[in-house]
Subunit: 231 residues, 2 copies
């Protein structure tokens, strides 16, 4: 792996108070990896030796429950920190993280975490915000599961995906990586059958267009109405 260009990360607010030397030094301490589609970046309960920055691609973060069920915690896209176990006071990773397309990640040993956090307030603040957002999102999902119909939950999940990882196309917003009905049902706590039926119905109404492992949102507006239980 040739030397990495610090400009890869210099634009991120998290690195605002790294000067040029610090950036070079920090990037120099990292190891760059390619992770092929469907391979793990790291695994649940594994000793957390490194934390990572996703430079390119998309990963799925999932937890396997004691009973064997799988929930999809979230999808992460380029620019996000992943595997930040040390920020949560953990020595093992809490979840599986799997590349859904070929990915590029930059990893650092957890041993340098404490030094980085204490030396660079912008980094510490960025991590705090990241975790705060994840916590809020988790509570949003709890509230959804508690109070909303399956239709609304699926609509919300699609909207979240579109916001986090969507790519604009001619006709609407395309979710830019392969995602199956089973994945959607794991995100919304329902069955793939119901997801399939729901998407079929939406497709007839022109709200989405979907194919195998591919979903495009044609009318975000109507999807928002459904999510708010107004349609």
């Amino acid at each position: 792996m040739a030397s990495l260009d610090p400009s890869l990360i210099s634009g991120m607010p998290m690195f605002a108070d790294f000067d040029q030397n610090a950036l070079v030094a920090f990037v120099g301490k990292g190891h760059c990896h390619l992770v092929a589609k469907n391979h793990h970046v790291f695994s649940q309960d594994e000793e957390a030796h490194s934390f990572f920055l996703l430079l390119d691609g998309y990963v799925r973060v999932e937890q396997v429950r004691p009973g064997g069920e799988v929930i999809i915690v979230r999808y992460a896209s380029a620019g996000e920190l992943i595997g930040i176990a040390p920020a949560l006071g953990r020595t093992t990773y809490p979840a599986n993280t799997i590349a859904v397309v070929d990915c590029v990640v930059l990893g650092w040993p957890c041993s340098i975490w404490r030094d980085i956090v204490s030396r660079y307030p912008s980094f510490a603040a960025g991590v705090g915000q990241t975790i705060g957002a994840r916590l809020q999102e988790a509570h949003d999902r709890i509230a959804e599961m508690a109070t909303e119909q399956v239709q609304q939950r699926i609509a919300n999940a699609l909207l979240r995906l579109a916001n986090q990882t969507g790519r604009k196309t001619e006709d609407g917003i395309l979710i830019d990586f392969p995602i199956s009905r089973q994945d959607l049902s794991d995100m919304t706590g329902t069955t793939l059958h119901t997801v399939s039926r729901t998407l079929s119905a939406w497709e007839k109404q022109g709200i989405v267009r979907s194919a195998r492992k591919r979903i495009e949102i044609l009318s975000g507006h109507r999807l928002v109405l459904i999510a708010d239980n107004r349609a």
Copy 2:
């Protein structure tokens, strides 16, 4: 309010690397408040001016959703930090926090947060662990709502309450503050009717003993079986 005894907090791991002077100085910067039962410690969306340590009592942390529904995020008991908005990169509180019994809280202005966190690694680590635990708990609840029956969710909620805030009695574990069926249904995403029926059934089987706003667990063992769907 007379001067506070630093020994109130010196035993907590979070303050492990505060020396005696630092403890005195830190406690000295705080303001002690009594919060009467059913009064807010702070309110959702309010400007976060302070963070708090709950010295005595129990508080309910709840979020009001845009649609007006209420979810109970958790109950916190003595020794826990609450209102730590700055750790999440927020300037407002994300939730209502309400005393369920008369409480004593110690509050510090958020302006000193950054200094404390950077100066005392044990504090920063403790905060990280706290947030990590909350995130994990949120994901546990998402998984429960996605995969478990109502009975199991209620059993899990009771077990969580017992772990976090239970007090041992002769016959079992008493949940040490007033909690209504409505509260339990807000925690589990069901209706108070179902909670009522379920508790009545359990009472007949000798698993719990309950009265108005009061629940005692007689057989934690059988409750665990129900939570795991083995009974």
